[in-house]
Symmetry: C2
Subunit: 223 residues, 2 copies
């Protein structure tokens, strides 16, 4: 059975977005790269191959069934406002990590508790926000290597969350249910730690792995 | 060279405290177990062996050079107030995770951002607070098995932080510098996730491991 879900990656010309788009397209999914510039989106799509196409962010969001947002924290508000009219009734996967330069090695969670909860507030109740992909090193994700990092997935609706866990798996990663959207704070904060660890221990992209013998849940909503 | 540092474990009759005390005492460190009841402290010390002794919390804190606090979040305020006069000028290792029953699978960070920062405020500037041991499963730590979980260590003074990294290593674990005390939020929040993952994936004590090739820093303050 072919998966006909259209995935839009808003901010998809950035490092993380391009890496996610490439992995999903390579896995046979229909993926559209969004950018502020249609030309940049088209160029990145052509460079990455695998049938990727490019559009400006609003058009990509409009065409997508699942819209993955991969922009820097400073651009989150403006980007969400831009796509808001085009994502009502859809799933938005927010990947935003609240890094505030220059102190990116310092946890600085927003007043809402997490960038994910901030996204839910910004997009309104008509949108189901799930958050994921906070800890993966984009420069490792863009090539076909084992990145040594789990993808923790957060969302209040477990059926929707399961779809994003499946997307992470399709991208060759291990998606893990992390619970409610508020729990996104843990993964978002972890990224500042990983940047600190990269610097302190000279690591080329530290990641995190959940240890223990994880048994896939029998619940079809979670499996 | 024998390490003459006295380590007090306040709340050391609890599961986490007893497990840490036992591992450090087994490693040859001088460790005192503190409890609200001198009798309970003495009994736990005797049961665990390895030269452990027991005192009431205030006396244990008074005798310790490094004071590890292992109490539930609900008891943190009262415990810190009790030991405050006895820990001025010392290192306090706070292990508190802000779990608020019944929703322990939900991240609920305190207004201060983390239990660790809350501890620093409570104890005042005369005390150097470091936080650690948030993610280890006590029931695995109490026996001599590989618990499959790194110990992230947070603190604003890196020399002091390094002492606690070393303590974690002495306990047979891998201590990792996690940066400033505010970064403790990441590890504290992670515990709610691990509890969620334990339930969702039927894991007996999930943990986290930092991946990547960590090179021990040449800086003697960090090594």
């Amino acid at each position: 059975m072919t998966d006909t879900t259209v995935i839009a990656v808003v901010g998809g010309t950035g490092k993380l977005g391009a890496a996610i788009a490439r992995r999903l397209a390579k896995a046979g999914r229909k993926v559209i790269i969004g950018s502020r510039s249609a030309e940049n989106a088209e160029n990145t799509a052509a460079e990455l191959g695998f049938g990727l196409t490019g559009k400006i962010n609003a058009d990509a969001a409009s065409a997508g069934d699942i819209v993955i947002v991969t922009v820097p924290f400073a651009a989150q508000d403006a980007t969400l406002a831009e796509i808001k009219p085009h994502v009502q009734g859809k799933i938005v996967v927010d990947t935003t990590v609240p890094l505030i330069p220059p102190k990116v090695m310092r946890v600085q969670l927003p007043a809402e508790g997490s960038a994910a909860v901030k996204a839910q507030h910004a997009l309104g109740e008509g949108v189901t926000v799930v958050s994921a992909f906070h800890n993966v090193a984009a420069h490792k994700l863009i090539i076909d290597q084992d990145i040594g990092c789990d993808v923790l997935v957060f969302g209040d609706d477990k059926t929707t969350r399961a779809k994003v866990v499946e997307l992470a798996n399709a991208a060759g990663l291990r998606g893990i249910h992390g619970g409610a959207l508020v729990n996104s704070a843990a993964a978002e904060a972890m990224t500042s730690l990983l940047i600190f660890i990269n610097k302190t221990y000279q690591v080329d992209g530290a990641g995190i792995k959940i240890t223990g013998n994880l048994v896939q849940p029998a619940d079809s909503k979670l499996a």
